[in-house]
């Protein structure tokens, strides 16, 4: 297994003095499906954004694809970002534009300033967008404006926009937090499928521990800016949950033992 991503002693202190991350170390292998869990304010979003440098870490190194990207700026940073797709809790689409226009935005990093600004995409790119939308079950909605879509559909557009970048890594910041359970399952299945069939590494922030355990190869638990758990879902104990979520753990209604039994029964 080759390592795709490595975080070494990464720390982030915001301007107002908040320490969001302190000395974070972990690595992610190519093709792995890793879920980051932790309570609100633990630093999950900050962690994800330090990887594609939407947020600049104050300390430490980020190694992506064997290159130290900590000092990347300008052109090299833009080029790096084309290799890292990102999806968001609020989808972050341009609501006034059509589905396919939003998907094509994923190609902007590859385009010249002028052709990108004017939205001149090649036929190849449009074909690719079409295929991705077909794969994600949005063939009928291609020309629909994004403000007419449901939450689940919007998130699939978000996934298509990330996939058309041809990314090596997908960062997902609570992609299902605003969705109903059935749409959430569709999105999670798509992400898992992407990871399995396209061999894209997925790093996903989740609020729901049970979903993380169901889908992830590995779980990283974050609490107060520090990594307090890093291991396979089967290794996660109620004690770990307590360490990650603090005293709130009992309110989470997570029954790990029960969960394990379900998994065993499935096998």
């Amino acid at each position: 297994m080759t390592t795709l991503l490595e975080m070494k002693h990464v720390s982030k202190k915001y301007g107002n003095g908040t320490v969001a991350l302190s000395d974070v170390n972990f690595s992610v292998n190519e093709g792995e499906f890793v879920s980051v869990i932790g309570p609100s304010g633990a630093g999950k979003s900050t962690l994800l954004r330090c990887i594609n440098k939407m947020i600049q870490a104050t300390d430490g190194e980020v190694i992506f694809d064997s290159v130290n990207i900590s000092g990347f700026k300008g052109r090299s940073l833009r080029k790096l970002r084309t290799k890292i797709g990102m999806i968001f809790q609020n989808y972050n689409l341009v609501e006034r534009l059509s589905v396919i226009e939003n998907v094509l935005h994923g190609r902007l990093g590859y385009k010249s300033m002028l052709s990108g600004s004017l939205g001149l995409f090649t036929n190849d790119e449009k074909q690719q967008a079409y295929h991705l939308l077909e794969m994600l079950g949005l063939k009928e909605q291609i020309y629909q404006r994004c403000d007419q879509l449901s939450g689940g559909q919007k998130q699939r557009v978000g996934i298509a926009r990330a996939l058309i970048q041809n990314p090596k890594l997908m960062l997902c910041d609570e992609p299902i937090a605003s969705l109903d359970p059935s749409s959430a399952k569709t999105i999670m299945d798509h992400l898992k499928n992407i990871s399995d069939s396209l061999k894209i590494t997925v790093l996903i922030n989740l609020h729901q521990v049970d979903i993380a355990m169901n889908y992830a190869d590995r779980i990283i638990g974050v609490s107060k800016g520090q990594i307090v758990f890093n291991g396979a879902p089967s290794q996660l104990t109620s004690g770990d949950i307590k360490t990650i979520y603090g005293s709130d753990a009992s309110n989470l209604m997570i029954n790990i033992e029960n969960h394990d039994r379900v998994k065993v029964a499935e096998k």
């Binding site: 939407m54 990102m86 341009v94 990093g109 300033m113 926009r161």
Partner: protein, 282 residues
């Protein structure tokens, strides 16, 4: 009496104070109240200290109404023809349109620098301050200032009106840009898109509705200003005809004609603007 009354919460059961205020006395509240009180006092003081030059109120009012009646009931053409009036209106419209377009184009680029979410705080503050100073001086004054160099006439009017339009639209546009959800910018940044690409692929489509309605609003303002500039700065157009009719020939009937012309244009602009707004919102 009915048998079962729903339990009611009596004041005694809660710990609420007897008198509950719905407004907290905040700093802004105090400022607003003080301002209103001062304005009310000034108004009363003003009415008591009018210098009415022994003008009789009722006869003067009647005379004014008589004038209105002449202006609006008996309009006529005297010193110019219908086609000349149309030409005058066209000139005035063109003046309004030109200054709005110049203002819109320049303001678009300035507002990108003024929007805090597109540049940094320092640049944004510098641009906003300059623009605020320009806006604080009325359009007419700008025209007169530029008239020093260009002489009274259409050149000074175009430059002065464009100047004020730029500052007005820069403020309006940059505020529309700042209202855009941070996520819409973040998402494109994360794909590796550059600044101009983000501007044209995310910012502009997101803010298009408000950009268009602000621009149209300014066009309506500029049309009105263009009428006044024709009269005050000799910029030509229907405003100049009005000035001549009113201050030179004392022909109030012709004033009536001109007023009707301007009214018609204003109505057409209003209808157009509602139509456009309704259409782009779909």
């Amino acid at each position: 009496m009915s048998m079962k009354e729903p339990p009611r919460i009596s004041p005694a059961m809660t710990s609420a104070p007897a008198m509950i205020k719905t407004k907290k006395l905040t700093k802004s509240n105090i400022v607003i109240r003080t301002t209103m009180t001062v304005l009310a006092l000034l108004t009363i003081y003003g009415f008591f200290t009018f210098n009415n030059q022994n003008l009789k109120f009722w006869p003067s009012l009647m005379a004014t109404f008589a004038n209105f009646k002449t202006v609006f009931i008996q309009p006529h053409f005297n010193h110019f023809t219908f086609s000349q009036a149309v030409e005058g209106v066209t000139v005035t419209l063109a003046l309004g349109l030109l200054t709005t377009i110049v203002g819109a184009v320049v303001a678009f680029f300035l507002s990108l620098l003024a929007a805090e979410n597109l540049t940094n705080k320092t640049t944004s503050n510098i641009v906003k301050t300059i623009v605020a100073i320009i806006r604080a001086v009325p359009t007419v004054l700008w025209v007169l200032i530029f008239a020093i160099a260009a002489g009274l006439g259409s050149v000074a009017a175009v430059i002065g009106m464009s100047f004020h339009s730029i500052s007005y639209l820069t403020k309006a546009y940059s505020e529309s840009f700042e209202e855009i959800d941070e996520g819409a910018i973040e998402a494109l940044k994360a794909t590796g898109a550059g600044w101009w690409q983000i501007v044209f692929q995310s910012i502009v489509p997101n803010a298009l509705t408000s950009l268009i309605s602000w621009t149209f609003m300014r066009f309506e303002v500029n049309f009105g200003v263009a009428v006044a500039m024709g009269a005050a700065a000799g910029a030509g157009g229907i405003g100049y005809e009005m000035f001549m009719a009113g201050a030179f020939y004392f022909d109030i009937r012709e004033m009536g004609t001109i007023t009707y012309f301007i009214l018609a244009i204003a109505i057409v602009l209003e209808i157009l603007s509602t139509q456009i707004k309704a259409r782009i919102r779909i």
